[in-house]
Symmetry: C2
Subunit: 448 residues, 2 copies
């Protein structure tokens, strides 16, 4: 790409135009990202119409906005004509009102009407990610006629590999793949060839559920129906890959006690980012009062055996880690559909057994470590090691139960797990610790 | 599905066979999972050959093993004939040696030879997820001849929507979509129609990099070449969706300090699961010695002002959470390709500013909380609140720098972040706390 900069600096525009138009749209979009606004606009004008539209659909919100503001209405009309319908909807959803207005002024009245209907679908619904670019056929068409029909109308359709068979009221009757059409005898009808058992979704379905269907049935596209089962759009797999990634990111964020941002990290403001993080940190900070109170309550114990304080961070840390392992495993298992609610008891029993093994191993290593390296008495070592064992068992059970309970009462397991889990485990670890200390060290504590 | 159980109990097999063969393979596989081994084998025999093979490819390892052991060589041959080539490879990779042997005995000698070559590709490489079922064309074919060729050879090919154009040495010359073939004049040649700028991968490329290409270029399939650029397979998008999910799961696990398991959770043994978790917990437990030592070192301070102990869990927790937010954001941003290494300085500067806002907000709330509810002196409140502020700033910077450094020295950021981060932040939080305490409370500590 250094080479392209060189051509631009030398004002060798003819060569530059040729080379730009020979690149892939994804690579061009990446290159354009590096340029300053003016150079980007100049180079963008050098692209052929259809390539320009494809590059545009790969760009970030800010770059798109800059271009729309810089080009004439005429160029904007060309650009919009080259965009896929769902990309137009995405664009309108992201642009501020004045830019959106400029866009809507440059589409035909018919299209504006459909666009306005599509903009009404709730965020993250099937309706909000579908496109209207598909091929529809009628049952009475012969295969030969259908193929001609596809040839005539299919050029600009986002996918022509699955065709949708509808009746006179646009109700979905079935689907037929292009593969079956080209393999079939040209004289049989589409009705004879089509697959009637069709998997479809409703406009109001959540995009996460739609993604689950794609995974379950290995789909390349799915028809979207309205409440009267009329076909109004399709969702294609490239958009589903984005959904899968978005939902994954949302879970990552929530498990790290943050709200997800819609925008790209680098283009989100400092205060917006801070706002997404403060609430949970605040909740966690205040809920740590509980652990503080437990320590306050047992201060007499600590005062008699101050060396016990040394092990508090390790115990809370180990408990937190052990619990996070279980909760992560179960939250992710549920998210990808590997674990169903009916598996709950088997999961709990398995985590219990795993926690016994892990707890015993860590308890023993910890005992040895304290005796050999920390120079503490066997009673202190015993107190700490029993606590390690019990904390791990309790932490893993809490970590397993919490997401399952959250899911069964309709809460997002990822959202609830991080904040609640740490607080609960910290409190449990300390309660176990001080009570074991009183039991094991009891005599020496009163003596001290 | 209750209905199917009823038919089975009534031994109404004719009706049962009809209904079973009318279901989608994914739903059948889900139903079969619920059955015990014997009933599963009986019902499986009721399925038509091609449906049986499709259901089989959806099953879990254990179920597949049970079926292979139960059926005759003849049925196994039918089953294998119906499986896609990449599903056969997956199956062989998962089965124990004796079952794999039974499978290899029931494929043709030619296929066995190819299978053995494919089994040699390293795990997680492009070679290990590709299939040999694609359509290849020659440049001199006319479009009409190409379409006939697809009709003749394409029926069992996994995807026929992208055809691969090769020369006499099987070197890839370009690709042509079925869409372009059916739209084109039947008399022009494939060479004139094909797209020469083809994105391809090598057999040894990592599957994660391949997935990144699919996302970047919105691909449905990609050709896989050997070191001499000969076409030897293709990778299709359905397998890439699995890769994206697998890689996401791996990151989730690593960030929760676990190794990923290849198998399904429920079918993995307790000791295997325990082994995947013990190592990191052990490392974290032992590294917590550092924080223990810091507390030990400053025990005189705690002895003079024991109420400081009460705030240790809150400080460590808040630091850990603030750091995890930053590291999660950056690890995920790098994993999905949103953040590149060249963005490192911008990210650090942004996280610094966010941390100042978040730290100040939490510090102030914390000061008010301690004064109003904890009944501590203003000097204690000041000590704790300054520590909250500084800990958050340090935690967020550490959380941002660590993944970037890990990536730049070739380590997996997800793997390194969780264990190291908590230990570092805990130590930093305590060092800040005790030093601030000595400064702010210094006079009263010596007095006390």
């Amino acid at each position: 790409m250094q080479h392209l900069r060189e051509l631009y600096r030398q004002k060798n525009f003819q060569q530059l135009i040729e080379e730009l138009n020979g690149l892939h749209e994804a690579d061009l979009a990446e290159y354009f990202k590096e340029l300053d606004g003016d150079e980007r606009i100049i180079l963008f004008r050098f692209l052929k119409k259809d390539l320009a539209a494809r590059v545009f659909s790969y760009m970030e919100k800010e770059e798109q906005m800059g271009l729309i503001n810089a080009i004439t209405d005429h160029s904007l009309r060309d650009l919009l004509a080259g965009l896929a319908f769902d990309d137009k909807i995405d664009l309108l959803e992201e642009m501020p009102a004045n830019v959106a207005k400029k866009i809507l002024q440059n589409v035909s009245g018919d299209e504006r009407k459909i666009i306005n209907q599509f903009l009404k679908f709730p965020e993250n619904s099937a309706g909000s990610i579908m496109t209207i670019e598909y091929v529809d056929l009628k049952e009475h068409y012969t295969v030969g006629y259908a193929l001609d029909h596809i040839r005539k109308t299919g050029v600009n359709k986002e996918t022509i590999y699955t065709c949708y068979v509808i009746d006179g009221n646009r109700r979905l009757r079935g689907t037929v793949s292009l593969k079956d059409i080209i393999m079939a005898d040209p004289d049989i009808t589409v009705g004879e060839l089509m697959e009637e058992k069709t998997i479809s979704v409703q406009t109001t379905d959540d995009q996460e559920e739609v993604a689950a269907l794609f995974k379950k049935y290995d789909l390349l596209s799915v028809p979207v129906l309205d409440h009267e089962n009329r076909l109004i759009g399709i969702i294609t797999i490239d958009d589903i890959i984005d959904v899968i990634e978005e939902e994954g990111t949302e879970d990552f964020y929530r498990m790290a006690a943050m709200e997800a941002t819609e925008d790209d990290y680098l283009s989100t403001g400092v205060f917006t980012l801070a706002k997404k993080r403060i609430l949970w940190l605040m909740v966690l900070m205040v809920s740590a009062t509980i652990t503080g109170n437990i320590i306050g309550h047992f201060q007499a114990v600590l005062h008699s055996a101050l060396s016990l304080t040394v092990f508090i961070p390790m115990l809370m840390g180990t408990g937190g880690n052990a619990g996070a392992q279980s909760s992560t495993l179960i939250i992710r298992g549920m998210a990808v559909g590997e674990l169903k609610r009916r598996d709950a008891l088997r999961v709990l029993f398995k985590e219990l057994r795993v926690s016994l093994v892990v707890g015993a191993a860590l308890g023993i290593v910890n005992y040895a470590r304290i005796i050999l390296f920390a120079g503490e008495s066997t009673t202190v070592a015993l107190t700490v090691s029993i606590t390690v064992f019990l904390t791990i068992v309790l932490a893993k059970l809490t970590g397993s139960i919490l997401p399952i309970v959250a899911k069964s009462i309709g809460l997002d397991p990822a959202l609830i797990a991080a904040p609640l889990l740490t607080t609960i485990i910290d409190a449990l670890a300390l309660l176990v610790y001080f009570n074991i200390a009183l039991m094991v060290l009891g005599p020496s504590l009163t003596a001290g």
